[in-house]
Subunit: 151 residues, 3 copies
């Protein structure tokens, strides 16, 4: 009798443990997907050949970092289509791009676009990163819970 | 023996209870995050200095309200960058903005932009609202489950 | 005594079963909402009267299909506002639109816009689809877990 009681209590204990860990896992998911106020994740799309948009995007990044703290935000700028001109070495905003890179954000160019436009890495700023496809990168980031901003 | 049986059944009962309540909590989350057909939430971004875009945005809002019922939608228009001109008191769409505000939607200007452009509240329509940072507001809304439209 | 042990073990077994099935349900949800690498879903918004944007959008679709396989992606192009010109029968990209439709994607025009612009289905390509409201369609798709791209 005493033995079976012990086992029963052990069962209840295990049950609570599983339920709580499941609840935790769920909470963690929600955060990852969506609701973490302390850790903002955002992907910026640059697909226009428009220096005003490039500057606006870099201003946006700066504002988000200043308001939330650079350490609390994960920011990625994905350029594709005519937007890759933002990251060419002769770009009018190359200094600002380098400055932004130093704050720890990711800034990438779309290799699909580069092939289509016959642009090589030698034409691009040496400090930037690359992704095989800009659109797929943006989709992936949204699926990971990043907010999407197209300035 | 009978006692331990009771406890065991009680354990099974508790287990079912926890499992069901966990399933409910999860379903509720899904709705809050995403899938409530009856209650649409959407944030519109206006970041262009382009009266055509402003009118398009206001048309979009009207259509959504007409189709779903103004009471069933939570709509916020966030203007930032050159888009804040939409909400200046001399804006060509100020009458339409006031009309939209009367339907209960939120229309805000970005204070970061206003500082950068040296624009004060005296330059803006008296009926609108403000947010410290337009981009952060849009990110926050997306994290709360709002859809994002950039007309 | 032996009997109560059996029942207790049965309780533990049931508990594990429920916990696992709950975990599975949760995983399935996550996939449906967001994270299925193998099955990408994306809605493209075309709201500009700009043939360059139309071509960029069609390039984006092609790249996503080539990289992930057309069978693994659900793509919808929603045109509204001045963007519906992309789908008029005299559109400069009508051949490319037809080509894209043959790959199984959905391309639709907004009937709200058509009413407002006094454009009838006779003015449009015969192969496309329609939605009552373009913006509501885009919101709905985002709520279903589609990523959003505005080229």
């Amino acid at each position: 009798m005493k033995n079976s009681l012990k086992i029963t209590y052990f069962a209840i204990f295990l049950m609570l443990l599983f339920t709580l860990s499941s609840a935790n896992a769920h909470a963690a998911d929600t955060v990852a997907g969506n609701k973490d106020a302390a850790h903002v994740r955002v992907v910026f799309q640059v697909s226009d050949d428009d220096a005003k948009k490039w500057n606006l995007t870099l201003n946006n990044v700066k504002n988000v970092q200043q308001e939330l703290g650079a350490a609390n935000v994960e920011i990625e700028i994905v350029t594709y289509g005519p937007g890759i001109n933002m990251l060419k070495f002769e770009s009018t905003v190359s200094d600002r791009v380098d400055e932004a890179l130093k704050t720890g954000i990711k800034i990438v160019a779309c290799e699909n676009t580069m092939k289509a436009m016959k642009v090589g890495k030698a034409d691009m700023m040496s400090t930037i990163g690359y992704v095989p496809g800009g659109v797929i990168e943006i989709i992936k980031k949204q699926n990971e819970g990043y907010a999407y901003i197209r300035p």
